[in-house]
C-alpha cells in the first residue's frame, strides 16, 4: 500500500479575498453600521465642498496678471494673477530687481546642501567644512561690495534690502547651525555634577522656554543695542539672528538632554576605565550615540524654527510673510486678492515643512532599524 501521492499536487492560489478592493472597502468603509453612517456623512460633506472649491480655485479663477479680470471675477473665482504679477517681490522682497539672480543662486545652493546634509551618506567631517564655505558664499553673494577689503565685483546690497524666501531659509538654517553647539554645551551643563554650572543652565533653558519667541525678538531688537557698548548698534538682521539662536538653543538643548539621558551609565564608565577624559568621553562615546537617537526630534525642532521665522516680520524684516505684505498691501489694485497671495506662500511653507516631516519619519525608521 502506498499512502503517498504519486504526483505533485499543484500549488493552491493564495487567498485572494483579503486583497480584493471590495473586501478592503467593506472593512474600511462600511464594516459596521457606525462606519457606514460616518462614510455617508463624510461623502456628503465632500460632495458638497469639493465642487464649489474647484469652481472657485480653477473653473472661475483668473490666472493671468490682469487686475480688471480679477476684479470682474471677484466673488466667484480666485485671482491667481496676483501671484503671476507679484511673485518676484513675494519671493525676494525689496532686493533690487536686476540683481535677483543672486538670492536665487544663493538659495539654490543652500537648499542643495541642506538636502545633502539630510542623507546619511554625507554625514562626515567634510559636511562641516561645506557648511562653513556655503555661509561665506551665501553672504558674499547676497551682500556683494567689498569683502574683507577685496572687491567682489558685485553691487553692494545692504541687509535691510534682503528679503523673501532667501531670508527665511537663511534665518532658519543659520540660527540652527549656530544654536547647535551652544545647545550641546548647555545640555552637558545641565547634566553636570557641578551645581553652579547646572543651575545656570537650568535657569537659562527654563527662562527661554517659558516666554514666547515674540518677546525674545522684541528683547533682541530693543535691548541688544542697550546691552552693547555705547555707540555700537548691530544690524537688525544680526539682532534677530541672536534672538532666534538663543531661543532655539534652549529647545535644542532639551532635545539633546533627552538623548544624553538615554545613554546607559555603563558607556561613560567604560570610557573612563579606558582612561578617556571628560571631553573625550563626551565627544567620542556619548554624543555620537545620543545625537543619533534624537535626529527625528531635532528635525521636528528645525521645522518649528522654520515656521517661527515668520515672526521676524513683526520686528520689520521682510522674509516670506513680510515680503508678501510688502508686495500686496501697498497696491490698491491687488490688495483685495491678498488671500490668494497668502495661499501661495502657504503652499511654499507647507511643501518645505511637509517634506522635512516625512524625512524625519524616514530617519526615525532608519535609526530604529539599526
Amino acid at each position: 500500500m502506498q499512502y503517498r501521492a504519486s504526483t505533485l499536487l499543484p500549488a493552491r492560489q493564495p487567498p485572494l479575498q483579503n486583497t480584493r478592493v471590495m473586501q478592503w472597502a467593506k472593512q474600511n468603509l462600511w464594516g459596521t453600521s457606525v462606519s457606514a453612517v460616518t462614510t455617508a456623512l463624510l461623502v456628503l460633506i465632500l460632495l458638497w465642498s469639493i465642487p464649489s472649491l474647484l469652481e472657485w480655485s480653477v473653473v472661475h479663477a483668473v490666472f493671468s496678471a490682469n487686475a480688471d479680470q480679477c476684479q470682474a471675477a471677484r466673488d466667484i473665482g480666485a485671482c491667481w494673477g496676483v501671484v503671476a504679477e507679484k511673485y518676484r517681490v513675494i519671493l525676494f522682497g525689496r532686493y533690487p530687481f536686476d540683481a535677483q539672480w543672486r538670492p536665487l543662486l544663493a538659495t539654490l545652493v543652500l537648499t542643495l546642501l541642506l538636502v545633502a546634509s539630510c542623507l546619511p551618506v554625507f554625514w562626515n567631517r567634510y559636511l562641516a567644512v561645506a557648511w562653513a564655505s556655503i555661509w561665506l558664499f551665501f553672504f558674499v553673494l547676497m551682500g556683494g561690495g567689498k569683502w574683507l577689503g577685496i572687491p567682489t565685483g558685485l553691487v553692494y546690497i545692504p541687509t535691510d534690502q534682503w528679503g523673501g524666501l532667501p531670508l527665511t531659509m537663511m534665518l532658519a538654517t543659520l540660527s540652527i547651525t549656530l544654536a547647535f553647539p551652544l545647545a550641546i554645551l548647555v545640555a552637558l551643563g545641565r547634566q553636570s555634577t557641578m551645581p553652579a554650572v547646572r543651575s545656570v543652565c537650568i535657569v537659562y533653558v527654563e527662562l527661554v522656554r517659558g516666554v514666547p519667541l515674540i518677546s525674545v525678538l522684541f528683547m533682541a531688537s530693543f535691548m541688544l543695542p542697550l546691552l552693547l557698548p555705547t555707540g555700537t548698534s548691530p544690524d537688525v538682521l544680526i539682532r534677530v539672528l541672536v534672538g532666534i539662536t538663543l531661543f532655539s538653543a534652549a529647545y535644542t538643548a532639551e532635545i539633546v538632554r533627552g538623548g544624553l539621558q538615554a545613554i546607559p551609565r555603563g558607556q561613560v564608565e567604560a570610557a573612563y576605565t579606558l582612561g578617556l577624559g571628560y571631553w573625550q568621553t563626551q565627544r567620542q562615546v556619548v554624543l555620537p550615540q545620543a545625537l543619533a537617537h534624537v535626529v527625528p526630534s531635532l528635525m521636528n525642532n528645525f521645522i518649528a524654527i522654520f515656521k517661527d521665522t515668520s515672526l521676524v516680520t513683526i520686528v520689520s524684516l521682510y522674509e516670506l510673510t513680510g515680503a508678501l505684505g510688502l508686495a500686496v498691501s501697498g497696491d490698491p489694485n491687488w490688495r483685495p486678492f491678498k488671500l490668494e497671495a497668502y495661499l501661495f506662500i502657504t503652499l511654499i511653507y507647507f511643501c518645505i515643512c511637509f517634506a522635512m516631516s516625512r524625512y524625519s519619519l524616514w530617519v526615525e525608521r532608519q535609526v530604529s532599524h539599526r
Binding site: 551645581p195 514666547p212 522684541f218 555705547t230 515656521k307 515668520s310 488671500l339 511653507y349
Partner: protein, 308 residues
C-alpha cells in the same frame, strides 16, 4: 589639601571661574546698559505704571479709558491673553481628541481626513494662518448692514460675530478676537491630535484584545481600558501643547488684538521703558507657564501609574 589631581578641587576651581566669568559678563552688560540709558536720557523704574496711559484699547473685559493708568492697561492685556488662551485650550482639547481618535478609526475616509487635517495645519506657520483668517473675517465677510445669518441667533459680518440674544444688549466678538481664537484653536488641535494618537497607540494591543474577550462594548473599551492607560503618556506632552498655546496667543500683536504683548509694545513705544516692559511680559508668561505646568502636574500625578 589643594591638589590639582583631586576631582573635588578641580570642580571647585572650574565653578569659581565659571561664576566669575558670568558675573563679569553680566556686570559688563549692566554697565553698558546704564551708560546707554544715561546717554539717551531714558529713565528707569516702574513708576510709569501709575501714569495715565493716553491710549484706547479696542476691547477689554472691564471698562477702560485712556485716562486710566498703564498698570491697568497691562491688566486689560493680561485678561485678554487669558481669555483667548483659556477658550483655545478647552476647544483644542476636545477637537484634538476627536481628531486623534479619528486617525485610529476603522473608517478609512475618517482616518484620511483626520490625517490630512493634522498635516496641513501643523505644517503652516501659525502667524500665516492667523493673518489668513483675519483677511477672511475683515475683507471677505459681508458688510454690517447685510450680515450672514446663522438661524436668527448668530450674525457674522465685517464687524465680527454678534450674538444679540445674550443678556440685554447682546454680545459682539471682534474679528481680531475671532481670528486669533479660531486660528490658535485649529493649529493647536492638530498637535493635540498627534499627542492623543500616539498615546492611544502606545496601549498594548493585548489590552484591547482582553477587553474584547470579556465582552466590553466599544465605548466601555475606550473609557475603561484604553483611555486610563493612554492618559499617562498623553498628559505630559499635552501640558507642553497648552503652554505653547498660551505663548502663541502673543501672535495677537500681528492682527491687532490687544493682548499683553501688544499692550506692552504700545507702552514701550510711548514711554521708551524697554527693559521694564519686556521684564513685565516675561515675568507674566513665566508665571502663567509655571501655574499651568503645576496644575497639569497635579493632574498627571492622579493619572500616573499607581504601583503597589
Amino acid at each position: 589639601m589643594l591638589n590639582w589631581r583631586s576631582q573635588r578641587v578641580r570642580a571647585w576651581v572650574y565653578q569659581i571661574a565659571f561664576i566669575a566669568v558670568l558675573i563679569a559678563l553680566v556686570g559688563w552688560l549692566l554697565h553698558n546698559t546704564l551708560g546707554n540709558m544715561r546717554m539717551r536720557g531714558i529713565q528707569s523704574g516702574f513708576d510709569f505704571l501709575l501714569d495715565p496711559a493716553g491710549f484706547d484699547i479696542s476691547e477689554s473685559m472691564f471698562a477702560f479709558m485712556s485716562t486710566q493708568t498703564y498698570g491697568q492697561a497691562f491688566l486689560v492685556g493680561l485678561l485678554n491673553t487669558l481669555r483667548v488662551s483659556c477658550i483655545a485650550i478647552v476647544i483644542c482639547t476636545l477637537w484634538g481628541t476627536l481628531l486623534g481618535i479619528g486617525r485610529l478609526s476603522n473608517n478609512a475616509l475618517a482616518r484620511g481626513l483626520c490625517y490630512a487635517y493634522t498635516e496641513v495645519f501643523r505644517n503652516i506657520p501659525l502667524l500665516l494662518q492667523l493673518l489668513m483668517w483675519y483677511v477672511v473675517l475683515v475683507e471677505l465677510m459681508p458688510d454690517t448692514e447685510t450680515p450672514l445669518y446663522f438661524g436668527d441667533w448668530v450674525l457674522l459680518s465685517k464687524e465680527g460675530l454678534a450674538l444679540p440674544w445674550i443678556m440685554s444688549e447682546g454680545l459682539t466678538l471682534s474679528p481680531e478676537f475671532l481670528a486669533l481664537t479660531w486660528g490658535l484653536t485649529l493649529y493647536t488641535s492638530a498637535f493635540v491630535a498627534e499627542v492623543v494618537r500616539s498615546g492611544i497607540q502606545s496601549v498594548p494591543i493585548g489590552q484591547i484584545e482582553a477587553a474584547l474577550s470579556i465582552g466590553l462594548s466599544p465605548w466601555q473599551r475606550l473609557r475603561l481600558v484604553v483611555l486610563p492607560q493612554a492618559l499617562r503618556l498623553i498628559v505630559p506632552p499635552l501640558t507642553n501643547q497648552y503652554l505653547n498655546a498660551i505663548k502663541n496667543s502673543s501672535l495677537a500683536v500681528a492682527i491687532g488684538y490687544p493682548d499683553l504683548v501688544s499692550i506692552s509694545n504700545t507702552t514701550l513705544n510711548q514711554t521708551g521703558r524697554a527693559v521694564e516692559c519686556i521684564a513685565i511680559v516675561m515675568a507674566v508668561y513665566l508665571t502663567l507657564s509655571l501655574l499651568t505646568a503645576s496644575a497639569m502636574n497635579y493632574f498627571n500625578r492622579r493619572a500616573a501609574l499607581k504601583e503597589r
